[in-house]
Amino acid sequence: MNDVDRLFREYHVPLVRYLTRRLGDRDWADEVAQETFLRAMRQETIVSERAWLFAVATNLVRDEARKDARRRHRLELLREQARVDEVVEPEPLAIERAQEAALARKALDMLVERDREALLMREEGLDYTEIASALELSIGSVGTTLARARRRLVEAYESLQHGGSGVRGTHAAS
């Protein structure tokens, strides 16, 4: 590992944001990010730092999601409960934003996992080579993956906005 300090400074914030968007839970995202950086410290050499970090974080999420799906469900329940308990007369703007965020979350969850991860990585500024490396795709297929992810996300979001229950060609992912 060449420079953990620099690695942390450069990638901690985007990694946590990526994970937060991916998981919908900031605390969980922080935990995964921390584990990712710990692994980076143990790694002697990292060739493509950003791709490596995002790949490790993505794999950790997948492993954890597989191992403990119930935990996520429980967190969601707790979030909902806390929302009910704590929100007092929210402002219209807050309601609007919360609805937007909920729709976005649902729409994103309707993408297949690989599409979702590719899209979120791209939004964090990863280039096609990095995305291909992190997700073990060929570079040539990244464009197609992103195109499909974007189209399906927008279609799902619009469908949800109009009260639709599902979108053609998409399915719920873990």
Binding site: V4, D5, F8, R9, E10, Y11, H12, V13, P14, V16, R17, T20, R21, G24, D25, R26, D27, D30, Q34, F37, L38, M41, R79, A82, R83, E86, V87, P90, E91, L93, A94, R97, A98, A101, A104, R105, A107, L108, L119, R122, E123, E124, G125, D127, Y128, G140, S141, V142, G143, T144, T145, L146, A147, R148, A149, R150, R151, L153, V154, Y157
Partner: protein, 364 residues
């Protein structure tokens, strides 16, 4: 040439194609109406998807709000004890009462009756300054407790002090800044840069106010605000990663955050940015706290949009930043000098020209 497939179009728009391949695609799009329509649609998809993804964030524009470091040492004991002026006045009254009682008892024990009277007359002149002091104490300042205790030692008259201080206490009770904060947050919720600048003055005053605006900005969605607040302090609690890293990361982030925001290149200038394919309005986004960051487009509604392919910016000196657009039709770089207005130099194919760039409100 065959029509372009969707993946190629997205790769082209994302700046992921090699130069030669990109030129072929550009030439085809210029000639083929069907493909031009697909490109337009893809542009819309990219922007819309970016918007949807950014809606997942607690604050628009991909921000993870940063709180000012709130170490325990920054809070006074009085604040930690939640001392309000009213409580301070009550405590002062009790202290004065006890002090008076002790004083009178001592007088009775050691001196005859006229000595008590003398003590009362001696005490009287001290009441007025004590009142003044106690009254001034009942200000919103959280340091009031210290001065109040000084006043107490000078003022053996319990009743008069009590009246004064209690009368002043309600009027001087510190008003919560939540209203202001909420309005600020509501006005600026979509502007990452404004959110950041809103936080810095508060922190510069030495108040831990950066966290409340950030939390409020989080749409008063109490759960997310709570989560974010926890998350904001989380980086400081990660000694396992590397000692002091999180704190220095925050400092770096704070410095870069000052430069974040929306900028506009005046299109009437000599060296036209638009001819080079550079957006006339763009946002500098401090995504990672590192030395170089992405540039994002700004939607007509003022939302910070998708990443401008090849767009990066970095701080050259404390008052100078460089914004580069590597994937523009012509590689384009702006050097912005911050402070006392913005002046810039643009470099297009080694030709340097002055190009006015102004910082703008993202929503305009």
């Amino acid at each position: 040439m065959q029509h372009l497939d969707e993946g190629t179009i997205h790769a082209w728009l994302d700046g992921a194609l090699a130069e030669r391949e990109a030129a072929v695609v550009a030439a085809h799009v210029a000639e083929c109406r069907d493909c031009a329509a697909l490109v337009a649609e893809a542009r819309g998809m990219i922007a819309a998807a970016a918007n949807i993804v950014s809606a997942l964030d607690t604050v628009r524009g991909g921000v993870i709000p940063m709180s000012a470091p709130t170490s325990a040492g920054q809070h006074s004991l009085w604040r930690r004890l939640r001392l309000t002026p009213a409580r301070a006045a009550l405590a002062a009254t009790l202290l004065i009462a006890v002090a008076s009682l002790l004083s009178v008892r001592r007088g009775k024990e050691g001196v005859v009756g006229d000595s008590v009277a003398q003590a009362r007359t001696e005490a009287a002149p001290t009441v007025a300054p004590a009142l003044q002091s106690a009254t001034s104490v009942a200000t919103p300042s959280h340091d009031s407790g210290v001065r109040l205790s000084d006043a107490v030692s000078e003022a053996p008259s319990a009743k008069s002090v009590k009246v004064k201080t209690m009368a002043n206490a309600p009027a001087s009770a510190p008003r919560p800044r939540a209203d202001t904060v909420t309005k600020l947050a509501a006005d600026q919720v979509f502007s990452r840069a404004v959110v950041a600048s809103g936080a810095s003055p508060a922190s510069s005053n030495g108040q831990p106010a950066a966290a409340p605006p950030a939390a409020k900005t989080m749409t008063t969605d109490a759960v997310e605000a709570r989560v974010a607040r926890r998350a904001e302090v989380a980086p400081q609690a990660q000694p396992a990663v590397a000692g002091g890293i999180a704190r220095s990361s925050l400092k770096s982030l704070a410095a870069m955050t000052e430069l974040e925001g929306c900028y506009q290149v005046r299109s009437d200038s000599g060296a036209s940015a638009t001819s080079s394919g550079v957006p006339t309005r763009f946002a500098l986004v401090n995504a990672s706290g590192g030395p170089s960051h992405s540039v994002r487009a700004i939607s007509p509604e003022g939302r910070i949009d998708s990443v401008v392919p090849g767009g990066t910016w970095q701080r050259l000196t404390p008052d100078m930043i460089q914004v580069s657009f590597a994937n523009a039709r012509q590689p384009f770089a702006l050097t912005l000098r911050v402070g006392g207005g913005l002046a810039s130099q643009s470099d297009v194919r080694d030709q340097t020209a002055s190009l006015p760039v102004t910082r703008i409100d993202c929503r305009r």
